[in-house]
């Protein structure tokens, strides 16, 4: 049971890592002018909800299997995702808005956020891997 939980979290975490990398690549394409703002934002907005769901899934899994430390580790990121999604003003076209993305250094802050998430997911990946191996050995 333990192992199953961790295997699932591991796969989820892998998906989240790939998603972060995708975000970083798309944002840097925008920075270097390979795509325009509208294309970039529509691509990224499509994956905001899946990222939210993936992160929430990992958090809930940890809660359900009563691994409190990892659960507490995941909660800030999950709640930040939800907050970011809910706080989008009504007139904006999603979390990534093409009219605002070049203004007020938003591109840089989105890039920083994506990098931090990538680092966090990598950390989680190794935690899950280690826990999974432990669980498999103990079974």
């Amino acid at each position: 049971m333990e192992a199953a939980v961790f295997i699932l979290s591991l796969i989820d975490c892998c998906a989240l890592i790939f998603l972060s990398v995708y975000f970083i690549i798309t944002l840097s394409d925008l920075e270097c002018d390979y795509i325009n703002a509208r294309a970039c934002c529509s691509k990224l907005n499509k994956w905001v909800i899946p990222e939210l769901v993936g992160q929430a899934l990992a958090t809930v899994l940890m809660l359900v299997s009563m691994h409190w430390f990892i659960f507490l580790l995941n909660v800030p990121v999950a709640s930040w995702n939800v907050y970011r999604y809910v706080k989008v003003p009504m007139g904006n076209m999603g979390v990534f808005d093409p009219t605002e993305i070049h203004n007020r250094g938003q591109l840089k802050s989105h890039m920083k956020e994506a990098m931090i998430k990538l680092g966090f997911h990598l950390l989680c990946f190794f935690i899950y891997l280690y826990s999974m191996i432990l669980a498999l050995i103990n079974d």
């Binding site: 002018d33 325009n36 703002a37 007139g91 007020r104």
Partner: protein, 798 residues
């Protein structure tokens, strides 16, 4: 001509005129050779006036008598005389700090304010087979590059050395060879190139104009359709364009009406599309027709349009579907769409609800609903921008129209918003006249199509925020489907790398556009400013009007993203922080009182004016649409007109004969002194004029004013006879009348749009609006100027 007096020349003694050298041995002065001359300049000694310490609490008369000139950058005279006109390109700090930490220490915002398409009386135009640009950063050659020898030039933005092409060595103006630095591109900071075909993504588009008119019952009631049709009939021949110009019309209420104007028809044919869920174009062509070929049909349509809907009972307004139809019609070519709307859109996609609570208009707390309610208009504006369609919005409504949402259609498609609140042909004749004259300017002013603008800065500086009506397509590329001469822009910059080893930095704004005659042109403006590394030099070069303009745009952004109270606090803190920084870093001797450098002495007054402006004021009843429109104006007006919104000018008119007359264009025009905006200046015996910029002049008649003056200028016998709704000064044959009308006419000439004159007295209904402009006085909800200074002083001394 639109103009403010030119800035006074720089303080260096004039250089002796040097004859063109026959032997071209020495390379000419360029920024690379500046080190010796700049080192000799002691910037502080050269600008003693700017740093003179002023105690704001003691000196009452801070306003200069006339218009305030822009500060002159501290450059050697041969560079400064080539520099860009400050009416076109202006920086908040005319001496750029060397490092970001120095800029942070000064607590002043760093940004540029541009008016790139301003109507200019002299514009050098160059037709050249090759446009010389830097190979790496693509900067256009400008007066501030340095020539290393005859064959190589060094870019002043990225410092790359480029070759001078062979054609460039020949100067067509002086027919001489071997003097590339004498060519017009290197002698003028503002220049226009005729662009070759590499600068075109598609053949230059013709001028295409589409007019979309609201014909619901409400709209017909106001009578605006008569004015629009009449204006169009009069100005049909002066619409900018050539033989390819196209025109089209759409009207809408709960259904969309298209007009088939095909050549050969005996009269215009109306085609009605009632399915607003799925808009389609009824015929593939002849909805947008060639103006010269179908002129009679267009004129027939304009003559019959007002009567067509006179009996209509439709009250719904399907603005969203009408916009979609307009977009479908215009997307093959691009062009300009002018929308006239008189109520909230109620039908179809983009329908809006009333968000304003009339009871909250004068609340001292935060104002809600300053941001759009739906993203439909923003998305449509982005679609339009992609197809080079700009949408201008004319809002003529008495009720709440959610301008915060509707305005998005213009904001991101580089259109303009015009607002005529409570417009009605009979009830508001002053508005009608203003609408008529504004329409004339709107229809006949110069226009540029499918434009893009790029702002480049010297390596080390970068732009991080943009203000104005456009869509930022990539890091510094602004997409402007239309560019017009009344649009202003602002950008904020930061210093990414320290500007060591640089004496000057340059900024270049390049606007690539298609003229209305189908020519692809590039208008280039280049500005050069010195770099300094001491805080007192930064303060010496501060431009108080540009700082106010930039702070206004920043505050509008903050009110929408955060809250209005945040924005108000931020503005007050801007004053407090900059004066604190001045006190701690620049002042040698600490004196009591609120001390400011002379160049920033007007900053607290202007910020107080902003806090009391319609856009930001709290506690006074302000309709939400008025507030949002004021915010739009603050963001997109050029600086010269913006300053009237912040600090109107007050003049005394009954003593015109004593004021210094000036000879302008062979007319003698008296120039009265600008007065402080306080009721203590409004003496009972005087007659005053308040100039609030692009909307109104207020002609205030004091109760005890000289009846002779009233007779001579207004044509009435006494104060009691002054009519309540007078909007024009009668053309009487007296000297006083002539002088007064000449002065008001001269003020009117300096702005593109029409300002209505209101004659008001003590009992006039407009008195309260007039008094709201007295920003130095205390009101129930706001501080007086002196109290504001005390508050600032208290914070500065902490």
């Amino acid at each position: 001509m639109l103009g403010v007096p030119k800035p006074s020349p720089v303080l260096l003694p004039p250089q002796p005129y040097s004859l063109p050298s026959q032997q071209y041995q020495q390379p000419p002065i360029g920024p690379a050779q500046l080190s010796s001359s700049l080192a000799a300049l002691s910037l502080q000694a050269q600008a003693p006036e700017a740093l003179r310490v002023v105690n704001l609490l003691q000196e009452r008369n801070l306003l200069p008598p006339g218009p305030i000139p822009a500060p002159t950058p501290c450059l050697p005279q041969d560079l400064q005389k080539l520099n860009c006109n400050p009416e076109v390109f202006r920086c908040t700090l005319t001496s750029i700090p060397q490092t970001q930490s120095l800029l942070n220490k000064a607590r002043l915002p760093l940004g540029l304010l541009l008016h790139p398409f301003k109507d200019l009386s002299q514009l050098p135009v160059v037709t050249s087979s090759s446009i010389v640009r830097c190979r790496s950063c693509r900067t256009y050659i400008n007066p501030f590059v340095s020539f290393l020898d005859q064959r190589r030039w060094k870019c002043n933005l990225c410092y790359r050395v480029n070759d001078v092409p062979e054609e460039f060595m020949y100067n067509p103006v002086s027919r001489s060879y071997g003097e590339p630095h004498k060519r017009p591109e290197v002698q003028n900071a503002t220049i226009e190139f005729i662009a070759p075909s590499e600068y075109m993504l598609r053949p230059p588009q013709p001028a295409v104009y589409l007019f979309v008119l609201d014909v619901s019952h409400n709209a017909v009631e106001t009578g605006y359709i008569d004015v629009v049709c009449q204006s169009l009939l009069e100005n049909l021949n002066s619409l900018p364009g050539d033989s390819r110009t196209k025109i089209g019309f759409i009207t809408f209420d709960s259904m969309i009406h298209f007009y088939n104007l095909q050549e050969g028809l005996s009269q215009p044919q109306m085609l009605i599309v009632s399915d607003t869920e799925d808009i389609f174009l009824p015929t593939p062509d002849s909805l947008l027709v060639n103006l010269s070929e179908c002129k009679e049909l267009v004129q027939d349509l304009l003559k019959s349009l007002p009567q067509m809907f006179a009996k209509t009972m439709e009250t719904q307004s399907a603005l969203g579907p009408a916009l979609q139809a307009a977009f479908k019609l215009m997307s093959p070519t691009g062009g300009r769409v002018s929308i006239f709307q008189t109520q909230l859109p109620t039908l179809g996609i983009g329908a809006l609800g009333s968000r304003e609570d009339p009871n909250q208009r004068s609340s001292a707390k935060d104002v809600q609903h300053l941001s759009p309610a739906t993203d439909f208009y923003k998305k449509l504006a982005l679609d339009c921008s992609g197809q080079q369609v700009a949408v201008d919005l004319f809002l003529l409504s008495a009720q709440y129209c959610d301008l915060a949402t509707l305005g998005c259609i213009s904001r991101y498609s580089a259109g303009s918003v015009f607002f005529y609140p409570s417009y009605h042909n009979q009830h508001t004749p002053a508005q009608t006249e203003r609408f008529q004259k504004d329409l004339k300017r709107y229809l006949t002013r110069k226009i540029g199509f499918e434009a893009v603008m790029r702002i480049r800065c010297t390596k080390g500086l970068s732009i991080h925020t943009f203000h104005g009506n456009f869509f930022v397509r990539s890091t510094d590329l602004l997409s402007l489907p239309n560019i017009n001469p009344d649009a202003g822009f602002a950008v904020q910059m930061s210093i990414e790398e320290n500007l060591l080893d640089m004496q000057v930095v340059s900024f270049q704004a390049a606007l690539l556009y298609t003229s209305s005659k189908g020519e692809r042109r590039i208008r280039v403006h280049t500005l050069c400013l010195p770099v300094v590394n001491s805080i007192s030099d930064i303060f010496a070069g501060a431009d108080v009007q540009a700082i106010t303009g930039l702070l206004a745009s920043m505050a509008v952004d903050r009110s929408v993203t955060a809250s209005l109270t945040d924005a108000r606090d931020a503005m007050t803190n801007a004053v407090i922080d900059s004066l604190t920084s001045y006190r701690t870093s620049v002042l040698a001797i600490q004196q009591p009182g609120l001390l400011a450098p002379a160049c920033l002495r007007l900053l607290p007054l202007y910020i107080l004016g902003l806090l009391k402006q319609k856009a930001f004021r709290t506690g006074t009843s302000t309709r939400l649409d008025d507030r949002v429109f004021a915010m739009c104006q603050l963001k997109c007006q050029p600086l010269a007109y913006l300053m009237y919104l912040v600090h109107p000018s007050l003049y005394r008119l009954d003593t015109l004969i004593n004021e210094g007359p000036q000879n302008i264009d062979d007319h003698i025009i008296s120039q009265p002194r600008v007065l402080q905006l306080s009721v203590e200046k409004l003496i009972r015996e005087g007659v005053f004029l308040m100039d609030t910029g692009s909307v109104s002049f207020y002609f205030w008649v004091g109760r005890n004013c000289n009846p002779v003056f009233l007779r001579q200028v207004l044509g009435v016998q006494s104060y009691a006879d002054v009519p309540l709704n007078m909007n024009h000064l009668p053309e009487l044959d007296t000297a006083e009348s002539g002088r007064t009308r000449a002065f008001i006419g001269w003020l009117r000439e300096q702005r593109p749009f029409y300002s209505v004159l209101h004659v008001i007295g003590e009992e006039s209904p407009l008195k309260s609006i007039f008094m709201q402009n007295m920003i130095e006085d205390r009101t129930e909800s706001a501080l007086s100027y002196y109290e504001f200074l005390l508050h600032v002083q208290q914070q500065v001394s902490k």
